[in-house]
Symmetry: D4
Subunit: 220 residues, 8 copies
């Protein structure tokens, strides 16, 4: 049987696409995640190495595994960032509908930080209490790009996209029960929204929204 | 083979439930629909007889079939009402998200009329342009019951239910394309909404929303 | 990154909609649920604060966390109510199809109590043994609003709605196996029922049925 | 390319299983259906040849195609029977929930007739008006086998199966709209019913219910 | 709140339908299952009391809970039978496609025993090795009723139903992976089979197949 | 019943979001579409009025209905543009996988033109013949924003997003058969792609991709 | 807007993969299909040009459009082949379950012919009458590759794959009603089959099965 | 009740189909898996006995259970092989899209080894970084058969099948989140791919791909 390696980190991805390879830790043994972070740190030193969906052993083990390096661990967003992050540029607002959407929002902001993009959060402004959003609208309108994270009915991104001129990215979350369980209802709501120019990423994909936002800002 | 009749109109339904049997014309030959209207008119003369989802032959043929009777035909809502409607009581607002939701809204208002309930319409106030709803909010808040008809993302009922104290009934419509085609996305959105006390009926079921509204008003 | 708070309790919701914000505890850390209950108790003292879908640590910890306050814990319905409940008004009957539907029925009755609505239960009267329902029919018919909780085939709400004049709200439950697992079969059955005016809420959403019932009674 | 024939009528099926091959006409050119009926009549003369789901050209053309033979055409049930039917034996009751379920019920009774089984119909007794069923209950209880045909919510077979001792076969129909469109909601309801011993066939499969009923009666 | 009991055992079900109420233990606390068995044993002493889908505490606790009674525990089929079973009558063959379908087959045979029906098993004769079925065909053909239990592709019941004259009941199981996970593929295969008169019950519903078989035999 | 109008064109949308209201003609009577175009032309004269998904009567009737105005009709993309388009700014490449994706690509380029954005097309470069894409790669890489339109397996957007630094928007189309029919397979493929920062719009939503691209360019 | 052509026939595909580009005519205007056939004939003259899923205008117009060329039109399989087919090599048996599966089988055999592969057909041997298959088994076993085309329950490929040593390819068809409508039930059955080495293509994809069979034979 | 055995190992399968019976360990008690391996080793000694989807107790217990025999345990692929493997013949390349697809690839290569087929692996060459595949293309093109294992979007097999002349088998994996969870998105992508002759097996079915590859090679 072949002796080829099991993993081929795509160290050239930052050059081709502007976004480095990011380690998706779910379903990988903790050591493999830490090894891949080390590989990326070595092969692509132009920026920090990032792992998402990290389990407790990765979150706990990263500071020791990379001591001597700057290591940022976000236990809510389940991310590990190894190496110094670039100075932030641009202004992305990450809006959430409810408090249980917070982990996905944090995955997004940690990714933005690793990509050198400035981020603010406007939390818990779901459409059941519209005044919360309206009172923060000027904050949202100032942003270069808006990311809206929402589970359950996923109605918030469509409402926001009807109110602001910046590009809006919807991130459905798997938060919910009954017909909302797993996030497909929220995903469909966002795809079906009538507001102009709302785009969508996969359920719970905070990292994808951040990558798109960063690409948009690079074009600016 | 048995000689029993093929149809047993439930003439006692009005007494038991407060709502008469209503003829669902889809999938029935036009003559059968007209015959069933005549049966109901005869067996349950306490109110008008109503048929919904009528095809053109029924809509066209009803005035002749029941001449001498009051006949109301709504070509947009595809309803036929035979017999005098009761004087309206109460105040139901039927809100629509877009202009293509109009046929379902009309099925609802025609049913409300046949049940002796007063109805107003607030049309085309979907969440992509939130100011349209907010500018009509006092009109909506005055209602005893609010029916919200929406296809595509179906986000409007959840927004309305977060803004008013009256009971709110969501009616998803089959309007839409892609993931919204057929109305299941709108249905899921309404069921998953976080707003307090929003209830839902089947896709395109304007008559069901009207029946529930009438029952609520009878209790008042 | 932003310093805004992660949660914005909607203390004004009771004023706008007649229903206070209710804490959905699933997916939240226990301390956060207890904190949110305390926030609501402080910001919206006009009625008790309620949390649903509470895990054991919340159910166990609530009496201590709020000592000095009236605290009601329902371990079957998984609810915590903090503060004195209003005197009950009106008469809602909560009907269940089977004994495994009980937790959802209890979530509903606990919510009704917190909203100041009187509630009775008629349990285990599923359609496989119709005499059980028929023998309790007069009890059900006396109610102002009827909530029917059913898993598996979800056939009971349609049968009840064909027999009573009060508004009927169907609550599908996730009880079942095979095609019934998760509650979507029961949900579809209720949405497709031919009985006049049956409305439906999300799977296992006892709190939503209670909120709608309370809104209906306030209109009375 | 091969010279083998395109169709191999299974003339031995009656001997093996007690049920002859039956021509499913949907998707076949009219001439092919008539040819297959002729083949079966010739190869398996022990009983009549039956075709179901016949289009107008088959229904119209059959009497001429088989003149000199007894030909029974049911335009509602869309069946053609060629050859004398056996004297009926046993007693099957075919119950329908609504008038739009009639075509499937007729497919079932025509098949029963071709198989030499006696059949009665109890029509339009859906659960929205339960008294209609209860008033016919003794008629239903006398049967050897009960077939219950229902679209929309499909709740009737479960109710019937809780009331009678005979074997009950549920036939979901594609009648309905919204979540009921196509018959999957009715199918799931029947599969999920709690009543003892209810069995189910494919959506709109009147012929399958008849075949099972005939097999049960042969065992008697 | 109401003082009515949470459970109403349907002790009359045996009289009405020929099949007693059977306790579905899944989702019930172990003590409640044992209590319901005791209630049924007392209220309906004409036959044994049966519980299905029992967890280990019920399987372990039943002999002590009912000591002095005959108690049969099947750990593979997860059933508990309390009280003497009637002498077996009739001959049902339960056929399985693979060894992992055994638990459902055992639920079926335990139910048949409790209902006083004789049962034999023909195991592991799935269609991937057709000779296994063909070599047992005479055994299968002798039966009064055939139950075929199959997961994965669920193809076996259709093959059997094309080979025997007895009524055939298909039981899909949740055994499988990928598209077969949960049993919906097997269920659809059985419903779509072209063989005459195959009927189907819910996924993993061994008890339902047994109840139908018993009803068929009572008619004999 | 209310005298409010059925439609409320959102003439302020261009100001709020940078994108004007666009008439979705599907499901609207042709005259209503033409009326709405006229309303928008009058109420929002800052740019041309656009209608998408136009039927033949709208495409045929528009030049006469707006004679004296510049009218652009695209029969492949089914769009009508009324009024002079702004001079193009920026560079969007619209890539298609196959020739049947062309109508959606044309809806996108017509919308870009109406919004004042420059657009080029790179057609028929699906992944089954990868050299077609690779030979056009420099053309694609030069773009400010890339829109990739693909039906069937929907694999092309993920491949493109792994090769370019510009923001990439995937548009699944309803082109396909079997599991691909309706576009859900293509949609899922794009949402699940591993390439960095790919975002997605609803099936066949060429206008949504154009609106997002325009918003991105405005930020530049 | 760009002046690039809308279609790029992949004339190099035969060299790269052994299989030429084949025109999928569905959704294309008839003239475009005929133009693409002419392009392929010119650019890739090493073998005939093939179009599948042709509408009547293509089937009718091809002989004239290519007069002077050999043109084979199969009206059942809806294929057009332009140019001389290579002499057949190898032996593929195409087995069908029922007569309505014939069009897909014919698409497969026409493609095999165009690819220079010998093909035989064994028709109408579905599992409801197993003797039909068993009596043809030696014919099937002699083949180099077996293609099995089946709709409804799709059980036949799994049965065949358990009986022969040749590679077996299953082709689900969209033939069927109820749960079988559209072919997803047949597809799932084939994917879930336990027989060793059965592979599957998309629903109704006769051309894909032929291409795989040809690739297998080229390796021989 | 019957005394027949619960399992009938199909020892003749190797003779009939060229592929021996393989034990699918999931859902079986560990001892049963080990017993079935011993049965197969004894009844079908022409080659090694293989079990897949083994739990830790089987992987741990196999060496002792079969000491004196050659036993190969793959903890990543979860396979146990008992008995000497035949010398490898032919050349199959197993390509994977990502590192989390490795367990399925290993199940495939272990099965190939047991069937006497030579296998190489080309790992982690997913389409997000196309250069990884292109740089290995000559390695892939040399193979007799190519197996491509991919989760998430499942796009890799279609790309590979457009580049090589060997038969290509796609294996979707259950790797992924959101719309990709469980592998259905990857499965649909592969079935819908436009590349010529790509065939597909069930999700995570490494053993099925290996069996088909072995059958293809035997024909060579």
């Amino acid at each position: 049987m072949s002796e080829t390696p099991d993993a081929l980190p795509d160290a050239d991805r930052r050059t081709r696409t502007g976004i480095p390879e990011i380690v998706f830790a779910e379903g990988k043994p903790p050591e493999r995640t830490l090894d891949l972070l080390a590989d990326l740190r070595r092969l692509d030193p132009a920026g920090p190495a990032l792992a998402t969906r990290c389990s407790a052993p990765v979150l706990d083990g990263a500071p020791d595994a990379f001591h001597g390096e700057e290591v940022a661990v976000d236990r809510v967003g389940r991310t590990v960032t190894v190496g110094p992050v670039p100075p932030p540029r641009g202004d992305v607002v990450v809006v959430t509908a409810g408090t249980t959407d917070l982990p996905v929002a944090r995955e997004c902001t940690a990714t933005l930080a690793a990509l050198g993009v400035g981020a603010r959060t406007v939390a818990d402004v779901g459409v059941a209490g519209l005044h919360r959003l309206l009172s923060r609208l000027e904050d949202v309108r100032r942003a270069d790009v808006v990311v809206v994270v929402a589970g359950m009915d996923g109605a918030l991104p469509g409402v926001v996209a009807g109110l602001v001129a910046a590009p809006v990215i919807g991130v459905p979350t798997s938060v919910g029960y009954g017909v909302a369980a797993g996030g497909r209802a929220a995903l469909a709501t966002m795809l079906a929204a009538c507001s102009p120019g709302l785009v969508v990423v996969n359920i719970d994909n905070g990292v994808g929204a951040a990558a798109h936002a960063a690409k948009v800002l690079r074009r600016a």
